[in-house]
Every structure is written in structure tokens, then in C-alpha cells.
């Protein structure tokens, strides 16, 4: 039992953070892609013998959080999780086709239909984007190009954990920006952050993020273990680890718990950030909108917060 990240895991995240801080522009859908590819981020889950870093999703969670923190646009999570199956190392981008929608498909070199899973060629039709950094397309499969050796459940599970980690990063950044603004903005002759009503809202965001993050870390571990083991039963045998699952498999249950908690924490962070910023937050003049929009788009990705709440309930109660 050691529920902490290693120095290497945190070091990789710090390297990613440095690149993002210097180079990431949330309004440029491809900013930073090349630099992060050079760090090895996009092949991170690919085995070393195939030219990747051979890391696990758990190893990467802190780095993925950083991409959320920076509101990095583009199909980051999709490329990461599909990489090991599609043989993607280097700079190519992958989009996942889920329920007829493919995100950032116009930027992608490969589109993986998770229903296959297979690499497909598609016809695309842009849909309204709430988030400039995540452009959805309605995609119709024209041709199936190559069937992948991937369990579809594994792809979706890992993508869900990935966006949950990004939601944590988004929430942390929204909190940091709100705190900075609350210290700088004065009204009635005091910084607004000296008012208890403002303090308490921000404290609640800090609490929500603090307790959502460990669920995301556990979900990453569960998703890694599920991929390693064909024997699902291994995960329900551990009776004392918060009770045996009834419906969904243990990893799916953990993933849904993570998505719910991360989605709710980010929603609270976004709502609070907007309130603390007042009207300036409602304008397009402030960068805040990139993080607000990211909250909305990630919350809806790979199952909404409400859908995962229902899935978790079904996992616990069987219905």
C-alpha cells in the first residue's frame, strides 16, 4: 500500500507543465503538440520495444492533470489511450469515434471507432462546439481500415479516466485564478478575498478538488489493472475494499466514481470562478472562458456526470 506518486511520475508532470506554461495557447488548437511529442508524452503508454515510454496510465495521471490545468486543446487523451493499440508514437494524433461523434477529428491522423475497435475512414460534419479547444464532429464510417487488438472497454475506460484527470487540472487552475483575482480585485476598500462570503466559496472549491483527486488516482490504478488482467473476478474478491460490486465490474465502478467526483468538483470550481470574477468573468476579454468551456466539454465527454452517477448506482445496487 503506497497511495502516492513517485518522484519520476511527478517529474514527468513537471516537465510537461514547463512546456505548457511556456508554449501553450488555449486558443490555438495545435499549440505545444510538437514540443510535448518530443518529450514522449503521446507515446507514453506505448511499450518501450515499440518506441514508446512504456508507462502506465497511473504514471501519467499527474501529467494529464497538467494538460487540463493549461486548458491544452486537441485530442490529447484520445491519442494517449489509443496509442498502444494503433501503434502511434511521435506526433500523430488520434480521434476516438464514440456514439457517432469524433472529437477533433479534423486534426487527427487516425480515427479509431471504439465500437470495433478499428481504424476507420469517415465522413465528417462539424457540430456546434461549446469549447474552442475540443471540436466535435458527427462522423459516418465510410470504410473499416484495420481491426485493432484492443478491448474496446479498455479504451473508453482509460479515456474516461484521462478526461477526469483533466477535469481535476481544470478545477485546480480555476481555483488558482479565482484566488489570484480575489487578492487583486478591491471593492469597498478591501480585496474581495478578505470577505468571508468569498473565502468560504473558495474554500469549498478547494475541498471538492482535494477529495475528488484521489478517486481519479484510484480509477487510473483500476483501469491499469483491468487491462493487465483478464480475470475480472479478481476485482470483486477483495471484499473489504469498500464492498463487492454487484453490477458493473470493479474498474468500471471506480471509473464512474472518479468521473462523478471530478465533474462535480470542476462544475463547482467553474461556477465559483465566474461568481468571484463578477462581470469581467462573463466577457470574452478574460482567458477564464477557456477553462469554463473546458469544464463543460469534459464533463460531457465519455458519459456525463449524471450518466456516471447512474452507472455507479447500478454498480452498487445492481439496478
Amino acid at each position: 500500500m503506497n497511495f502516492a506518486f513517485t518522484a519520476e511520475q511527478l517529474g514527468f508532470a513537471a516537465a510537461v507543465r514547463d512546456v505548457l506554461r511556456d508554449r501553450c495557447d488555449p486558443s490555438d488548437r495545435l499549440s505545444c503538440w510538437k514540443e510535448l511529442a518530443e518529450l514522449g508524452l503521446f507515446g507514453a503508454l506505448v511499450p518501450e520495444e515499440s518506441g514508446g515510454l512504456g508507462l502506465s496510465l497511473t504514471d501519467l495521471v499527474p501529467a494529464i492533470e497538467e494538460t487540463g490545468r493549461a486548458a491544452m486543446p486537441g485530442p490529447v487523451v484520445e491519442t494517449l489511450v489509443a496509442g498502444p493499440y494503433a501503434g502511434v508514437v511521435g506526433a500523430p494524433r488520434v480521434s476516438l469515434l464514440v456514439d457517432g461523434l469524433a472529437l477533433d477529428a479534423d486534426l487527427a491522423d487516425l480515427i479509431v471507432d471504439v465500437a470495433g475497435p478499428s481504424i476507420v475512414s469517415v465522413r465528417l460534419e462539424p457540430r456546434r462546439a461549446v469549447d474552442q479547444g475540443r471540436q466535435p464532429f458527427a462522423a459516418t464510417v465510410v470504410d473499416e481500415l484495420r481491426v485493432l487488438e484492443a478491448p474496446a472497454a479498455d479504451l473508453v475506460r482509460k479515456a474516461t479516466v484521462g478526461v477526469s484527470a483533466q477535469l481535476i487540472g481544470v478545477a485546480r487552475e480555476l481555483l488558482a485564478r479565482s484566488v489570484a483575482y480575489a487578492k487583486a480585485r478591491t471593492q469597498f476598500g478591501r480585496p474581495i478575498g478578505a470577505f468571508q462570503a468569498v473565502k468560504h466559496q473558495l474554500a469549498d472549491v478547494a475541498i471538492a478538488v482535494e477529495f475528488a483527486a484521489p478517486l481519479v488516482y484510484r480509477a487510473a490504478l483500476s483501469a491499469d489493472n483491468a487491462a493487465l488482467s483478464a480475470d475480472r473476478a479478481a476485482y470483486s474478491a477483495d471484499g473489504k475494499d469498500t464492498g463487492a460490486p454487484v453490477g458493473l465490474s470493479r474498474p468500471d465502478r471506480d471509473v464512474s466514481a472518479a468521473k462523478v467526483a471530478a465533474g462535480e468538483a470542476a462544475a463547482l470550481a467553474a461556477r465559483t470562478a465566474l461568481q468571484v470574477h463578477g462581470a469581467i468573468g462573463y466577457t470574452a476579454e478574460l482567458d477564464l472562458r477557456f477553462w469554463l468551456a473546458r469544464t463543460w466539454s469534459l464533463s460531457a465527454a465519455y458519459g456525463t456526470t449524471a450518466e456516471h452517477r447512474t452507472r455507479f448506482r447500478q454498480a452498487v445496487f445492481g439496478s
Binding site: N2, K199, K240
Partner: protein, 361 residues
């Protein structure tokens, strides 16, 4: 990062689980009655006999030097088994860490073993009628006499004091607000104890009246004037994992899930959501045990107290009028106090905002 327990930890879990399965008493009367208090003391003496009453303490004082992870395992098993809340909790969870850090070897030898066996039960005497959240405003005084001190004043809301044998508390020894406080240990026999009835009708806490109670020098904890510093070390234990162990909330959440099994989906959703939070609190604690507690205990305090309230409020919704006949109702009343004791949640949010987030005072 991993969530697997070592073979030694698993063996410890199995030992604890088996022992509890054989020994946990069926429901005891409330510890806030004379009869229940004695029944709880007997239960804790039995625990101590198996060296399970204070597993994290050094062996010389009755513990087994369990690691923080083992301590968490113990707590999970303890609460899952249906064992009762600890009548000694203020002593073992609040005073003991302070005694280990600031007590003299003589004080440790004199009090810790007896505390571990529930021979002495300690009450915390901090609050005063005019000093709750603003604890440093307290006015009870200790005046110097030959060989010791005389305590004067009035303390209130002291849990378990109606039946406890000893108290620990802060008294003013000079007028400088924070630096004028001294930490005293005292037997309750010379103190006038006035039980105070609580919402549930039991005498869960009491008022303590000091009318020149003599305390010898060797019952000062730390140096005179250091009381505030020492007390603040204890508040972090109070809010933090020592008292509010994740096992307790996890066990409640699992019972809630069982209670909600046949309820409609909206109520089942609420129960499932509570389970997510209980799991979050457990995982967070696994991540936190190795590090400093510090101000993050304030985050935990707000989180567990609100979770506890949510769980018990849901139980009230699930049970309807029948709730009053069940232990859930006592749990509900106690959960209402969670946001008040151990530093109110408003005060905790101030601490988080100022010390964690760095907002101006």
C-alpha cells in the same frame, strides 16, 4: 502507487477481524448514562486485554506500534464490525498525542497505560461560555501557590465529563492573549461537575466549575505559558484522522447502501453518492498519512462532518417516522453536532481560505 496491502497488513486485518467477530458486544446502552459509561469502559478494557485499544501507541504503553496504514486497517475493521464509539476517545485521540509530544516521561508513565485500559477516562475542558470559536478569549485562571496552582473559573460543553475521571484544559496564567495560557491535567474529583442535557436528553457533556482547585506543578503539561501552542497541536488531531477515521464513515455509508436497497432510484442515487464520498475520504487519508497534517485537516473536517450529515439525513428520509426507533436517529442527532465541535465549519473554512489559499485576513 498501489492499493494492495502487504501480507503482514493482511494478516493484521484478519487477526483484528476475527477477534472483533468473537468479542464485539451487542448494542451497549448510551455512553452518556452511568450504566452505559461503565459498560463502555468494560468493553475498552477487553479491547486493551487483546492489545487492540491503542494499536498505534508504543508497546510500553499498551499499544503495538502499528504503522499509520495498520491503524487505518484497524479502524476499518473496528467500525465495520459494528463496535461502539470509544468512550476514551478524547483521551486517546486528543490528549495522548499531546502527552507523547509534550509530556514528561513521568506523566506518560502515570497516565497513558491507565488511559489505554479505560481506567481513567479524560474530558477535554477547553470551551467556556464566552470562549467557543474564539478560544483564546478564555478567562478561567490559574494562580500560583506553593508547589502548584489554583484553578478558578468555568468550563462548558465538556464531552463525557459527567462521568469522566480526569480533565485536560487551558487556563489563563497571564494576560497576554495567546502566550498567557497554560495547559493543565487534573482529576475531576475536586471539580464541581454539572451535567448538561443535550438534544437527545442524555448528559453527553457537562459544565465544570473551578473554585480554587489545587493542581500540583507536575500536572502542568509543557511549560507555563505554552498552552496555546500545545493546544493547537491537539486541534489538528481532533479535526484530523485520529478522531474521525475513514473507517467510521465507510461503515456508515455501507450500512446506508444496505438500508437503501429497495428505495426508489433517487434515494439510491443519494446513497451511492455518499459511498463515493466515503471512499474519497478513505483514499485521501491513505494519501495523507505519510505527510504533515497541518491545515489540510481543516479540509477533512468540513468534508467528513458534511458527509456524516448527508448520510444521516438520507437515513431519516429512508426510514420515515420509524427512524426515531433506530440507532440511525441517535446518529442523526450527533451528526448535527459535527459542523460545530472540533472547530466550527465556518472557522475551518476561514483557515482553509487564509492558510491554504493565502487569502487576506
Amino acid at each position: 502507487m498501489d492499493l494492495d496491502f502487504t501480507p503482514a497488513e493482511q494478516a493484521f486485518r484478519a487477526e483484528v477481524r476475527d477477534w472483533l467477530a468473537d468479542h464485539v458486544p451487542s448494542r451497549l446502552p448510551s455512553m452518556d448514562t452511568r450504566e452505559g459509561f461503565e459498560a463502555h469502559r468494560e468493553w475498552e478494557a477487553l479491547l486493551a486485554g487483546a492489545r487492540l485499544s491503542v494499536v498505534s501507541w508504543p508497546e510500553e504503553h499498551g499499544g503495538r506500534a502499528a504503522s499509520p496504514i495498520e491503524w487505518l486497517i484497524f479502524e476499518e475493521e473496528y467500525w465495520a464490525s459494528g463496535a461502539p464509539a470509544r468512550v476514551s476517545q478524547n483521551g486517546i485521540f486528543l490528549l495522548a498525542p499531546t502527552l507523547f509530544a509534550f509530556g514528561t516521561p513521568a506523566q506518560q508513565a502515570r497516565f497513558l497505560g491507565r488511559m489505554a485500559r479505560a481506567e481513567d477516562v479524560w474530558a477535554q475542558a477547553w470551551s467556556e461560555p464566552e470562549a467557543g470559536s474564539d478560544l483564546a478569549a478564555l478567562t478561567s485562571r490559574a494562580s500560583r501557590v506553593d508547589g502548584g496552582w489554583l484553578l478558578h473559573g468555568r468550563k462548558t460543553w465538556s464531552s463525557r465529563a459527567a462521568f469522566a475521571s480526569h480533565g485536560f484544559g487551558l487556563f489563563r496564567t497571564s494576560d497576554t492573549r495567546h502566550h498567557g495560557l497554560t495547559y493543565f491535567l487534573f482529576p475531576l474529583e475536586d471539580v464541581t461537575v454539572r451535567p448538561i442535557a443535550q438534544l437527545d436528553g442524555t448528559h453527553g457533556f457537562a459544565e465544570l466549575l473551578f473554585d480554587g482547585v489545587f493542581v500540583p506543578d507536575d500536572l502542568v503539561l509543557g511549560e507555563p505559558g505554552q498552552g496555546w501552542k500545545i493546544a493547537m497541536a491537539t486541534t489538528s488531531s481532533e479535526r484530523g484522522l485520529t478522531l474521525r477515521s475513514p473507517g467510521r464513515f465507510l461503515a456508515t455509508a455501507e450500512r446506508l447502501v444496505a438500508l437503501a436497497r429497495d428505495a426508489d432510484p433517487a434515494l439510491r442515487d443519494r446513497a451511492a453518492r455518499c459511498l463515493i464520498d466515503a471512499e474519497a475520504y478513505r483514499l485521501h487519508t491513505f494519501g495523507a498519512v505519510r505527510g504533515e497534517l497541518g491545515a489540510t485537516t481543516s479540509m477533512g473536517k468540513v468534508f467528513w462532518s458534511e458527509l456524516d450529515l448527508r448520510m444521516h439525513a438520507l437515513a431519516m428520509d429512508l426510514l420515515g417516522p420509524a427512524a426515531a426507533e433506530t440507532p440511525w436517529f441517535d446518529g442523526y442527532l450527533f451528526s448535527l453536532a459535527g459542523p460545530i465541535y472540533a472547530g466550527t465549519n465556518e472557522i475551518q473554512r476561514n483557515i482553509i481560505a487564509e492558510r491554504v489559499l493565502g487569502l487576506p485576513r
